[in-house]
């Protein structure tokens, strides 16, 4: 199974997720690259998958043609000591 076979809207690189939890995704690199009905807009909820095949959810914050910026959901509260 390849990433393109996994039911998700976009692929993402976890190493590019910033401190604001926003990551840049390219539609052309994702599972729905050939789907002309896929038209994510700011505010839309999407699913993302990475090379480890872990599927995450997020919300579109910005779109510029092929490029979509998504704020990924972070699970679990950070309870790290100061």
């Amino acid at each position: 199974m390849t990433l393109m076979d996994i039911r998700a809207d976009l692929t993402y690189d976890p190493n590019e997720v910033g401190s604001d939890c926003v990551v840049e995704c390219w539609i052309s690199q994702g599972p729905r690259a050939a789907d002309p009905s896929f038209d994510p807009q700011p505010g839309d909820r999407v699913t993302l998958v990475d090379e480890d095949a872990e599927v995450r959810r997020g919300r579109v914050t910005q779109r510029d043609g092929n490029i979509v910026w998504v704020q990924v959901e972070i699970s679990g509260a950070l309870t790290l000591s100061a």
Binding site: P14, N15, E51, L78
Partner: protein, 130 residues
């Protein structure tokens, strides 16, 4: 259209350990896609890594919440990457760095990947907590 490449100011730490989140994120597909995005943005073939500030993983997790979401990561020494001909650029916000490749080829991907150790289990992975 590519943008102007802006680098952070400041000194390079004496000991620079970088991690690549995930266990498969150095495979050919991941690096090819990362290089494509980087070239479109900055006209440089590169992929992202994160500095472990002073070896402090908790600090990395506070700076980058995504770190605690990852079960495993790969690790490399910055000086070793530099010595092997892979420049490290302090791009975006700390602790983000870009590892530069001369070209996005399979041989370059394999060569740079050979400098990473792991995968290691992430001690701060949220799934580890009850």
């Amino acid at each position: 259209m590519s943008k102007h490449l802006e680098l952070r100011d400041g000194t390079i730490p004496d000991r620079l350990v970088v991690v690549r989140l995930g266990k498969n994120t150095l495979n050919e597909n991941a690096l090819a896609n990362a290089c494509e995005r980087s070239f479109a943005r900055w006209s440089v073939y590169a992929f992202s890594v994160l500095e472990v500030p002073n070896g402090d993983f908790e600090r990395l997790a506070r700076l980058i919440p995504e770190f605690s979401q990852r079960r495993q990561f790969l690790e490399a020494d910055g000086p070793a990457l530099l010595a092997a001909g892979f420049p490290l650029l302090p791009t975006l916000k700390h602790p983000h760095w870009s590892v530069v490749l001369s070209e996005p080829t399979q041989s370059q991907f394999q060569r740079v990947a050979s400098h990473f150790r792991g995968p290691f289990d992430n001690p701060l992975w949220v799934g580890r907590k009850g």
